[in-house]
Subunit: 319 residues, 2 copies
């Protein structure tokens, strides 16, 4: 699926337009991470929902679409500090280039700037939705931190993490797009759920790519989750089938501060051999179907057909 | 001046009421820092302005007064990470107890929660003011970071830092209180300026206390600013009077990663001997007078008389 459209070009052009700080470092750090690429899925969701419902985009759609990318950027910046990351999108991560302190504060600025844009171009209903989302993002990341090394993380806990990491922000993007177009309560709720389930599918596939992807495509080293002691869906999906000895081996790997690559490879192979890939893709397809079913109440037009295809593409992108 | 009133008791009681996270760590970190004391000046400013204008507090005043304390808390949390602090208010700072990663994310949660409270109990005008304030707070802290070790920091840059560190949040508190009471544009602007100049005075005195205070009263080690290479008003006020040799000595101290206590003491004594204390108090009094003059347009009642005394108290608190 080709996402490089006129729309993305316009998003790229507008990306740095709404950072007006006098502090040059904010522009520097902000532009470093904003210019590092990414699929701009979040602004696309805002713009497409607004267009799908009212037939066209209005000028106020753009600053709010960009604001959602700023929220994503802020969360990536803080995430890099929290994870002690060194690489993102094939480049040194911002914390390595600028230092943790600068990155934390630039993240704060980006969060506040996004909310400021909403207070200028949006309304209180959007702000309630978006600030609730930022709360859930922080909660999800904290839960992920607390669950590091925990072989017995429940499926519920895992999906709470996925929700905070990806799904709620997708959901808010769709909600904001619908609200921009003056959608009804029912339409806004359906838009929110479309984004939520799209996000679940997206993150579950992202977690699978950490098992089976290659470094260049994924933009960061693979097998990082296991290396950092994070239990994700591919492992959860086959966990029950492991015997005592295999469980002990996985638990040891998760607790290991400097795991050796051979051990990681063994566990990856074990997860794939047991069908972790197929089970994860199956789960993602279920989410995609739930997402797609939310589109039924909307008019049939090229924009909703794009959102339909986008959901399909999330699962099929690498297979 | 006795600040321990019925009002403070109520603020203390309500402080943890508006954190409803399921994630137990947020409650733990949030309560750790919220329970560590502090003068609750920010909620008091909100409540007193609202009461001064409309004669009484309404139920919605409290969640927004608390939201301003949450913003302050979030900024302290991130500040501790940025500074690599180890002590705050006579206790180990949150980053030492819980780790940087947890503290960054809890700060994010507190910021988002404050904005969420504004979307529930406030209005879009307050949100624009408050989110602009959070932007300026991040900018001020970033500028402070960039100016570390810089003997030649301009007075303008120093006050930009002071603005972000303290003054804009005080200003927003007064603005929110006025807006809660349905104040006019002119009243809201005066309230904002009262808070801004009160904040300047407060921070300038805080910077002086780092020179002349004692550890127990200040709640953290003294002479920290010089130790960390931060140039503040007491030094700026006497900078012109230093000869070449003295300047070199101060510059060396500011650049020194492990400055010795004798050298710090020398520079502190030099600043005090040249009149840094008197010049700083004078500057603070000027700010207090500007703050007080903003109150003229408001009715004369016990609440505005309290705000008058509060401004006086800021400079006189330790002398």
């Amino acid at each position: 699926m080709e996402l490089k459209t006129e729309e993305i070009k316009r998003i790229e052009e507008e990306l740095s337009k709404y950072i007006d700080s006098e502090v040059e470092f904010i522009l520097k750090v902000g532009n470093y991470i904003l210019s590092s690429g990414g699929k701009r899925l979040r602004p696309i969701l805002v713009l497409t929902f607004a267009k799908g419902i009212r037939g066209e985009n209005h000028p106020n759609d753009y600053p709010l679409a960009i604001a959602m990318e700023y929220l994503h950027t802020a969360s990536l910046l803080h995430d890099d500090v929290v994870d002690g990351a060194s690489v993102r999108r094939n480049r040194p991560s911002a914390n390595v280039v600028f230092g943790n302190d600068t990155v934390v504060l630039t993240g704060d600025y980006m969060y506040a700037n996004a909310l400021y844009l909403f207070s200028t171009y949006g309304n209180i209903d959007m702000i309630r939705n978006v600030s609730d989302t930022v709360k859930k993002m922080a909660e999800g990341q904290l839960l992920e931190l607390k669950k590091i090394g925990d072989f017995n993380i429940t499926e519920e806990e895992y999906f709470k993490i996925v929700e905070g990491k990806t799904a709620v922000l997708f959901a808010s993007c769709c909600y904001v797009g619908a609200e921009l177009a003056g959608a009804s309560r029912e339409e806004k709720d359906s838009a929110y759920r479309y984004g939520l389930y799209l996000g679940y599918a997206f993150q579950v596939i992202d977690d699978l790519l950490d098992y089976i992807g290659n470094k260049e495509r994924v933009g960061k080293p693979v097998h990082n989750d296991l290396r950092e002691g994070k239990v994700t869906y591919p492992l959860i999906s086959i966990r029950e089938s492991l015997n005592e000895e295999e469980r002990e081996s996985v638990k040891k790997l998760l607790r290991d501060i400097h795991p050796d690559e051979k051990h990681i490879k063994e566990v990856v192979d074990m997860v794939i051999d047991r069908g972790g890939k197929e089970l994860t893709v199956k789960k993602a397809r279920e989410f995609v179907n739930t997402a797609i079913s939310q589109l039924e109440i909307f008019p049939e037009n090229e924009y909703f057909s794009k959102l339909f295809k986008l959901a399909k593409y999330v699962v099929e992108r690498e297979f």
